[in-house]
Amino acid sequence: MLDDFFTRALIAGIGVALVAGPLGCFIIWRRMAYFGDTLSHAALLGVALSLLLNVNTTLAVGAVSILLAVVLMALRRSDTLSSDALLGLLSHSALALGLVCLAFMTWVRVDLLGLLFGDILAVTPLDIAMIYGGGALVLTVLVVIWRRLFAATVSPDLAAGEGLKPEQTELIFMLLTAIVIAISLKIIGALLITALLIIPAAAARRLSASPEQMAFIAALTGAAAVVGGLYSSLTYDTPSGPSIVVAAMALFVVSLVPGVQIVRRVRSSTKGDRP
């Protein structure tokens, strides 16, 4: 079964979506969409380094993303710049650095489009093993820290005041996000990873009554987007990564339709990370 590139693509994509859904819920609850972008842009630097040092791409991307998450955490503590300015700075510096590195390595030919938009049809059985191994690890850790992370999301001060150490939990969460971005780079590409994290979660919002339910529905929505996107990519001969994102967006639009009242944005939503 794994011989067929399309089946491999489906299995890999569904694996990524199942992990990205729950994690994406936290990203939108915590208003960290831009953080996801930053990590995925930095992933390109990871790719460049992996080629330079001749190591596994996923590992190198993971290492760079984790480093970035730690740097961000440290910079945020030191109050030098506002959080979104820091993210913008790190995001584009890392992306530019990655592209410059790639340009210097004249001896390698890199499929830049493949990196930016993903090449799910080139997924190998090893990639699948990494996605499911890494994914299982991420979901397990997420379940373990769920209560603490959730409390820190609702109120970091409250969590800290009642002894839950939110900073520690937040760092673990950032590392999990870094891992997910590393394993999904090949599936969806650096530019569109954030979409797979946040669109299914946003689509799940209207259909869920509890946070756990929302995480579950987000995972299923993401998986459905992968299946829909891949089949339409096959049918209409469109690029696979963007097709998955378009499918996810279509599901989001559908989630808005059935009889539910128009979303009312409350005051709190004005303070978003994204400009």
């Binding site: 939108i28 609850w29 915590r30 208003r31 109050d79 209560r147 959730f150 409390a151 999301t153 609702v154 109120s155 970091p156 001060d157 409250l158 969590a159 800290a160 005041g161 009642e162 002894g163 839950l164 979660a201 946003a202 919002r205 869920s208 009554a209 509890s210 946070p211 339910q213 929302m214 979303v263 009312r264 944005r265 409350v266 709190s268 939503s269």
Partner: protein, 281 residues
């Protein structure tokens, strides 16, 4: 007043510095079981910062902040950062930091008068409802120390009195120490054992009656003694004046509240005596 081993939390010349500026410094403070300590002060005077040092959310840049080992804290922060995309019911919020049975949830919400909200979504609550739910969550933990950051913000006038009465009652039934922040000076006066008036440093401190007579307090807030009287007239048949005298609803003033006018047990009024010590009620 109390020896140091019974103290739940103690700040010792503590201060926090951020970006080269002192938010607050030189704060001495301790809360013992059954004691209500109230922090008052203008905006930006370091009230929340001081509370956060007591909670261990901020570590002091100078001085010390010590909490009793194993102390269980119930905290009502000034506001929550709940995103509109987060589906969160009141029941789920009640269980945010520790597991609770349905009965425990219901009982705690009933105490703060928020039982009917049990299945509501958090983001649909009004300011006052939010305060009641947050207070219910904090007391459901059965804490040794309750820290309340402006517990009556957004609560209407009558509800404000009800919440202060509730806080006094919680102190009695749970026996916990309470550290409270308030800018509602007039009501604070009646509910606290000790008032600490902050303005970047400890401006003055003492029993409610001490503070209300302190010139530095008046310099900071202006004369609010009349405000203090107005509130209690609204609910009780007599008020305890800061100087220890009692004024009845008909306007007569006498030295004690026992008399024919007295229809209301006043165990919670600390300003009853000149020295500010509560009577046992």
């Amino acid at each position: 007043m109390t020896n140091s081993d019974t103290r739940l939390v103690q700040l010792d010349r503590a201060g926090v510095r951020k970006g080269g500026e002192w938010l607050v410094r030189g704060v001495d403070l301790s809360v013992s079981p059954g004691e209500i300590v109230t922090l008052i002060g203008p905006n930006g005077s370091g009230k929340s910062t001081t509370a956060k040092m007591a909670l261990g959310i901020l570590s002091p840049s100078e001085g010390r902040a010590d909490r009793k080992p194993g102390l269980k804290v119930g905290y009502v922060p000034q506001k929550l950062a709940i995103d509109w995309t987060l589906p969160l019911t009141v029941t789920r919020f009640m269980r945010l930091t520790n597991p609770l049975s349905d009965a425990e949830c219901r009982a705690a919400l009933a105490r703060t008068g928020a039982e009917r909200l049990i299945h509501s979504q958090m983001r649909t609550l009004s300011g006052g409802e939010m305060q009641r739910v947050m207070l219910a969550r904090a007391i459901a933990r059965n804490p040794g120390l309750l820290v309340l950051d402006e517990p009556v913000q957004g609560v209407d006038y009558a509800g404000e009195i009800a919440i202060y009465d509730l806080i006094s009652e919680i102190r009695k039934t749970l026996g916990c120490g309470i550290l409270m922040i308030s800018h509602d000076l007039h009501v604070v006066m009646a509910a606290a054992d000790q008032v600490i008036c902050l303005n970047g440093h400890v401006c003055c401190r003492g029993t409610p009656s001490d503070v209300s007579r302190d010139d530095r307090y008046h310099a900071l807030f202006g004369n609010r003694r009349n405000g203090a009287i107005a509130v209690y007239e609204h609910y009780h048949d007599h008020v305890h004046l800061p100087d220890g005298k009692v004024r009845h609803a008909d306007g007569s003033v006498c030295s004690s509240c026992s008399g024919e006018h007295h229809h209301h047990s006043h165990g919670d009024a600390p300003a009853e005596k000149e020295d500010g010590i509560r009577n046992a009620g």
